[in-house]
Amino acid sequence: MAALVQIENLRKEFGNVRALDGVTFTVEAGEWIAIMGPSGSGKTTLINILGGLDSPTSGKAVVDGTDVARLDEAGLTRFRAEKIGFVFQQFHLVSYLTALENVMLAQYFHSTTDEGEARAALERVGLADRIDHLPSELSGGEQQRVAVARALINQPKLILADEPTGNLDEANEEIVLRLFRELHAEGHTILMVTHAHSIGQLADRRIDLAHGRLAQVKLRV
Amino acid sequence: MFARIVGQSFARNPRRKMLTVAALVVGMAVATATLTIALEVGDRMAREFRSLGANLLVTPQSDTLPLEIGGVDYRPVDEGAYLNEADLGKLKTIFWRHNILGFTPFLDVPSQLAGGRVTNTTLIGTWYEHEVPVPDGTTFKTGLGATHPSWQIRGRWFRDGANEAVVGAALAAKDREALAIGKKIQLTHGDGANSAASLDVTGIVSTGGAEDNAILVPLSVAQNYSGHPGEFRQLYVSALTKPADALADRDPKSLTPAEYDRWFCSPYISSISYQIQQALPGGDVRAIRKVADSEGRILSRVSTLLWIVTLAALIAAGLAVAATSAAAVLERRIEIGVMKAIGATNTAVTALFLTEHLTLALIGGAIGFLLGAGLARFLGASVFGTPASPRIILLPVVLGLAALVALIGGLIPLWRAARFDPAPILRGE
């Protein structure tokens, strides 16, 4: 069976700066990968490319059979809608939409909205009694869980999380990480950028980046 | 420090400021243009109305009843009184001489033609482009063009003092052979020295009135034919007047000295008539009421209309600018929040922003004024045929308006922002 994600010699340059310098690795379906490294190492750039938010300068990045590097603007848009679920450090919920509507927003851009499914997604993340609240009425952890529900709603092949607990306190971090563990147990493929070793240890594999290059690939012990 | 902050604020984010200034500029340009035109329009429209022709008529005071049908007087020459042509230059010496756009004397003489199918007709002596000597040494060119602009000529008008004639269209139609351009017509049976004048027909005129059945000649020819040199019967005057109001309609004798001055120094048709009367003793000056009254009424209506439209445009412009400046301030909420967080008082914040806003308003207002002046010229030219000249007096008015409107617009969100807790703003809500 082909790997879900296959990256070959990926390069990304921003002017003179080389954010990624020939990165190669693969990810199997169902794996939880932690991408770690100091700031400026290219972690976010890598995630962005995999998620179709950015295009590489050269190299291949095949996700579920599609080479992201070759997609045009419209293709990338569809790719993001159908294959990827994002979870950001800053949550990035729309401030004037309720939790339910934030989830439905993802449905809206994918195809059609289904309120029932959106509700179910929020129930899944334990927010059944919060569906009509605005983000300002939710705690950080709750907001992030809404973001997770949003990421899941279109049944993505890949969940990309960029420091998902970076803005959370300990208690909420725990809640969110537990959610990720459940998702992992259910078979979702997760790529998570983190700088915390404690979080990195939860993953199946660790990929360390430094100066845009792959430093290590550690298997969980 | 204050000035420095304001200066820095201008150096950053020029693009955002550009839009605010642009709205200010256009708003003030609209205001300037409409105000300029409204101020000028009265004058321009009045001139437009002079295309209706004369609005004053002077006849001899001690006169018999004119036998006038459709504008032509059929009295025999030995009946009735006359006015002196030599007095006419004095019309350009009265107080309102620059409002006297033109005047034309008429002398209607029953006459006979020799040969051809038409024998009895009327000879109308008048001016077309005649140079009148004015007592101050200059001359004033005037004639039919000023007082009867709707008369249409085929061919050309007679030269002043020449033995030439222009035949009325209806008369010419009765005898197309003899009364055509280029032919000579022969007058007979006149009472004066030139009673057998031979005239070249230079044109055919269509007036739409009784003159179409007559022959028009230079005044001097009619005077010589009738034996009344230097005299005429009627004078039509085209004067630029101001619509009558309460003061205009009162009897000048009943006015106090101050009121009298005001009346005399306003170009009402009554004061201009009065002044013409003084210049032409023996003459009876009357407004041609249907022209003068209607003109006045229509002018004041259109003028009112334009002022009202200007007012409406000003309000719209004012509101638009206020809205834009409110938007501009709203944008800066974060900055305001930051400033408050570092300890600025409400007053300090308000003062800073207001100063910035005012500066923008003045700059925008000044540019808007220039643009508006240009716009007024263009509009004046395309709508009225003559460009409206910008009035400098409007500059402080427009600047004041810009400042006022920008301030009011900016003040509301500013007041609200300054009172708010900075925290939610800084959090990004």
Partner: protein, 386 residues
Amino acid sequence: MFGRLLWKMLRSNRGRLAVALVAVASGATVISALLNLQFDIERKLTQEFRAFGANVVISRAGSAEGADASQSTPEVRGSPALMDQAAVLGQVEKMQTPDVVAAAPYLYVVARVGDVPIVAVGTWLDQARKLQPTWKLTGGWDPSRADEGRCLVGRNVARQFQLAPGSEIELKYLANSAHLRVADVVDAGGAEDNQIFVNLPVVQKLAALDGRIELVQLSVSGTGPGIGNYVSRLASSLPGYDVRPVRQVAEAEGNLLDRTRLLILSMVVLILVLTALCVLATMAALAMERRKNVGLMKALGGSISRIMELFLAEVSVLGAVGGLIGCIAGVALAEWMGRRVFGTSITPRWDVFPLTIAMMVGVALAGALPLRLLGKIRPAVILRGE
């Protein structure tokens, strides 16, 4: 969902949008008021011009061979071409519309009072009165067409012969005479001050010109093209006669109306530009704030067209609502303006509504240009580093 999103967007930005709404609504108010007024202005101004008297004249076509040998004044006037009263007036009667304010026949005769020659005008006294609104009848007499015993004398005639209402005069022409009583004195401020006015049959009998008239004068109201239309229809129903607008008046009237129309149009354009700029300024500010949300929506797989749909819908609502408010306020404004200028009510024109609203939506869309630039943003850039 689209509706829900739109509604939430509008609500969340209501402060900003309210401000832009003010600009749009005020622009729409003035524009719709002007448009409402425009039609009425033309009609009212042309009515004012009716005070000049007749604006259409019917006479015998110029190519008359002087066929009517009978002269109305044997001494001085060349023979004026005369028309058949029944034929001409019959047609005028048939072509009567509510726009024809007045219509009267005229026959001029140089008669005598005693030894003094004086112009006697035969007409329909009631219509002649309507044709000349600037006439002042000092005694307030209301003339009727049928009265053959009474006459109207001009101010100067009254002074010359010392006449007053009730005086008796005798009009003579060659061998005929007519005995008349002065019903009123007219102060016309023009040539009529020197004339005597009687009903048509009196003059016709006096001059032995039964059934003949010299002119018909009409006062026709309406817009420029409307009057022109009427004149040509009347002319084609009277072949062989000269039916013409009085040039002086028609030109001045046409000129004035053109100018007013042009001026108002320029105002409308200026205000549209201004409103567009204002919307632009608001939208530019809004666009800046929206970058994050737009980046997010793109990250979620939202296509540019899907995202733009929302923004353009938002702006269209702004334009439509502002336009509607403006139209309603504009009717009130037009009414006020109409009263100030003409002293009468304006009839609101309902077709101004869709026109103004459409213009405002157009202006709003034009001002939404900055939002289109949002389509270009790169989500990665926006969502990173905040």
